[in-house]
């Protein structure tokens, strides 16, 4: 350990720790733009410069190693003036669009300009004129607002292992772009939206569907139905200043109705449905000897990843649709006719913590005359919608969901966190194979924010090796090991986003690890306190099978709730 002085306070630092890390120990948060937790510093933005009192020089705190006897001033006049100039330089080539920008209020550039006291346009000059990339159904890129911090490039490459975008060109003409400056839609982008989550400005955002939903809500002839993902109700609170991690599902139901949605269903219901179909599929594979491993298919980013990079493994993916799409199919093709509604006059909306779900909803396999899901809103867009309608969500009285899809088991609710699908499916698979429930329904080994988890389930003498992985980089590596025969599993849950859907690309902008953890803990708490904890005991599910689907894996179920995926030719 070594001792150094920061702003007059003595701090102890380990060998190899940076000044930034040392400063954080005493609660000092030095401003950064390009820094990414857990990844090596690149020294790109220079905003984190601090003054070395001994030499009088400015050094980058994110990468400079702490040394014995250093005297650092993090906010000396020189350091602050340098930071201010750097922000002013960024502003000089930035569109003055704050009022119109989706980043208004969350943009880090905006925040620093305010905090550093920027009050005039010191520098102005030519700006690059670059077109928007609106080719993707999920993500919109506005390169004019890009400050080239590199976080999107790094998350796409180092965390997700996709590398759809990279720095191109050089100098002030440098841009973040896809290969050959093509649009995102023909690149290898899987729509996961992690880039949107790390972008400090409004340069990367999701494609907006708010207007389309409002139009449907306003149309008296259209029945607007909404489903909401398990992660949403434990994340929405943050958008309204409520305690992060609070579950406000009942208030959310009420808010939906205030806005004019005709029916509100939790996607956790169709998550239960997915559990039934998928557990059944797993059991069938166990009986038939394969193919193993079976991969979950509820993460559309993961599916696109397989289609682009490992189409040879598509046969291993579960043929189940995702809960979103199962709900969409059930609504349009069972519920609507059963209620004498023309499916073309039913507008099916889903609220997701995800950007890839927008892509999924538009897939040709996911619909007939109309798409099963007509519009997907991210958690952020839902918050915006609630504000547009002037609703004070905190003041609402809670309301329950609608029948017949209002019941859900807590297993379905667990889908929001990494390991949740596995846990839910395991509970039902056990029952399908043994006729009984697990003695202990909680499977600790698959819970938590570790990126790769594995365990063995003992079911009647059968050893089922399972793994849970989140983050596509991890999934890709695991997949390579599986293909090479280094690891073998029967069942693998894959979620594109590290930590699961609670950390998805559509979540509130100010997501941080504490909030992700809070959301996850709430899901576990819901499971702990629930009376209905397994999908196969959900009465609404039983009713659905009884009245429409017959049994899991039936031909009707297959037709409605399953699909196939194919190889995708992209520029990669």
């Amino acid at each position: 350990m070594m001792k150094l002085t920061i702003n007059g306070k003595t701090v102890e630092a380990r060998n190899g720790e940076t000044i930034l890390e040392a400063a954080r120990k005493i609660g000092l948060d030095i401003p950064t733009l390009c820094h990414m937790e857990g990844l090596a510093p690149t020294g790109t933005c220079r905003v984190c410069v601090v003054e070395d009192r001994k030499t009088g020089k400015l050094i980058p705190s994110c990468s400079y190693p702490a040394a014995e006897g250093m005297e650092i001033a993090t906010h000396s006049n020189q350091a602050v003036a340098a930071r201010k100039t750097i922000i002013e330089l960024l502003l000089a080539s930035h569109p003055d669009d704050c009022l119109y920008c989706p980043g208004n209020g969350t943009c880090v550039l905006q925040r620093y300009a305010q905090e550093l006291g920027v009050r005039q346009r010191s520098y102005s000059g030519a700006r690059n004129r670059i077109n928007l990339d609106v080719s993707s159904p999920s993500i919109i890129r506005d390169p004019e607002k890009c400050i080239l911090c590199g976080r999107c490039v790094r998350v796409c490459s180092e965390v997700q292992g996709v590398s759809a975008i990279d720095f191109t060109g050089r100098g002030s003409g440098a841009q973040v772009a896809c290969a050959f400056d093509e649009g995102l839609n023909i690149s290898s982008c899987v729509n996961c939206g992690q880039c949107v989550m790390v972008c400090p400005t409004g340069s990367l955002t999701e494609r907006r569907d708010v207007e389309r939903v409002m139009k449907a809500l306003d149309d008296p002839e259209v029945t607007v139905v909404v489903q909401h993902a398990p992660a949403v109700s434990v994340s929405l609170a943050e958008e309204f200043g409520l305690k992060p991690g609070s579950d406000i599902v009942d208030k959310m139901n009420a808010a939906f109705r205030r806005m004019g949605f005709d029916s509100v269903f939790p996607t956790s219901f169709s998550a239960d449905l997915t559990v039934m179909e998928e557990a059944n599929e797993l059991v069938q594979r166990v009986r038939n000897g394969g193919p193993f491993p079976m991969f979950t298919s509820c993460s559309p980013g993961w599916i696109k990843f397989l289609e682009e990079f490992h189409p040879e493994m598509l046969g291993n993916a579960s043929t189940c649709k995702s809960p979103q799409q199962m709900m969409g199919a059930v609504i349009k093709r069972l519920w609507a006719p059963a209620n004498n509604l023309d499916p073309r006059k039913v507008f099916s909306v889903s609220i997701m913590p995800c950007t890839a779900k927008k892509f999924e909803a538009a897939r040709p396999e996911m619909g007939g005359d109309t798409q099963d899901v007509d519009a997907v809103l991210t958690t952020r867009e839902l918050a915006e919608l609630i504000r547009i309608f002037g609703i004070d969500i905190a003041m609402l009285e809670g309301e329950p969901a609608d029948s017949p899809f209002g019941d859900r088991s807590s297993a379905g609710k667990l889908f929001g966190a990494s390991g949740g699908v596995m846990e839910a499916a395991a509970r039902t698979a056990f029952h399908m194979l043994t006729g009984e429930n697990l003695a202990e329904l909680k499977l600790d080994e698959v819970r938590g924010l570790d990126e790769v988890k594995e365990t063995t389930l003992l079911i009647n003498g059968l050893e089922l090796r399972v793994a849970v992985v989140s983050g596509l980089g991890n999934a890709g590596r695991l997949l390579k090991d599986i293909i090479a025969g280094k690891r073998t599993y029967h069942f693998v849950e894959v979620m594109s986003c590290p930590g699961g859907c609670i950390n998805g690309g559509g979540q509130p902008y100010l997501t941080n690890p504490e909030r992700v953890r809070a959301r996850m803990q709430t899901l576990y708490e819901i499971d702990r306190n629930a009376s209905l904890r397994v999908a196969h005991e959900n009465p609404s599910i039983k009713a659905l099978y009884r009245d429409f689907l017959e049994e899991p894996g039936s031909e009707r179920a297959h037709h409605l709730l399953h699909t196939e995926y194919t190889a995708r030719e992209v520029l990669r």
Binding site: S157, V162, S163, A164, I165, D166, F167, T168, G169, R170, A177, C178, A179, F180, S187, S188, L571, R572
Partner: protein
């Protein structure tokens, strides 16, 4: 067939890793004149490097082109010594005579102009090179003469 020439080059780097990317790109450009999209995709597959990465690397360096050059590729040195000795006027003369901006090729594919960083022949500034052959101590009046001899050469060879 151009794809097979790229494949031939790639075949000479079996088991190659990322650090062979630039040499391979250089060889492919040497052989084909510029980098085609198909070539980039092939190289990417061979090295296990994503296309966006290769594009990012190729667009960083001055050397790589994504469009073909003219039969006579003229490189004008942008170095200090050449600048001080009047390279700008030589460049303007070239632009006037040929009719294209630097970085472009004439429609008939005969000439292309590129402004390059210092060639290193500063003692003989201003310097240009045509297809690798250096011409030193150039004045704007020398330009039409040089271009004419290129045109003649093109006609002879056919």
């Amino acid at each position: 067939m151009s794809e097979s020439s790229v494949e031939k080059i790639i075949a000479r780097y079996p088991g190659a890793e990322r650090d062979k990317l630039i040499p391979i790109l250089q060889e492919v450009q040497e052989s084909e004149g510029f980098l085609k999209r198909d070539a980039v995709v092939l190289i990417g597959k061979h090295l296990g490097v994503p296309a966006s990465r290769i594009y990012g690397v190729a667009t960083f360096y001055n050397q790589f082109r994504f469009e073909p050059i003219g039969r006579f590729h003229i490189q004008v040195c942008r170095g200090t010594a050449c600048h001080v000795k009047g390279s700008l006027k030589v460049l303007e003369s070239l632009k006037r005579e040929i009719g294209v901006e630097p970085g472009r090729t004439t429609r008939d594919g005969l000439f292309s102009i590129e402004v390059v960083a210092c060639i290193g022949a500063c003692g003989l500034a201003p310097v240009i090179s045509i297809n690798g052959e250096f011409h030193a101590k150039l004045t704007p009046d020398d330009v039409p003469v040089l271009l004419e001899s290129c045109r003649k050469k093109a006609l002879e060879v056919g």
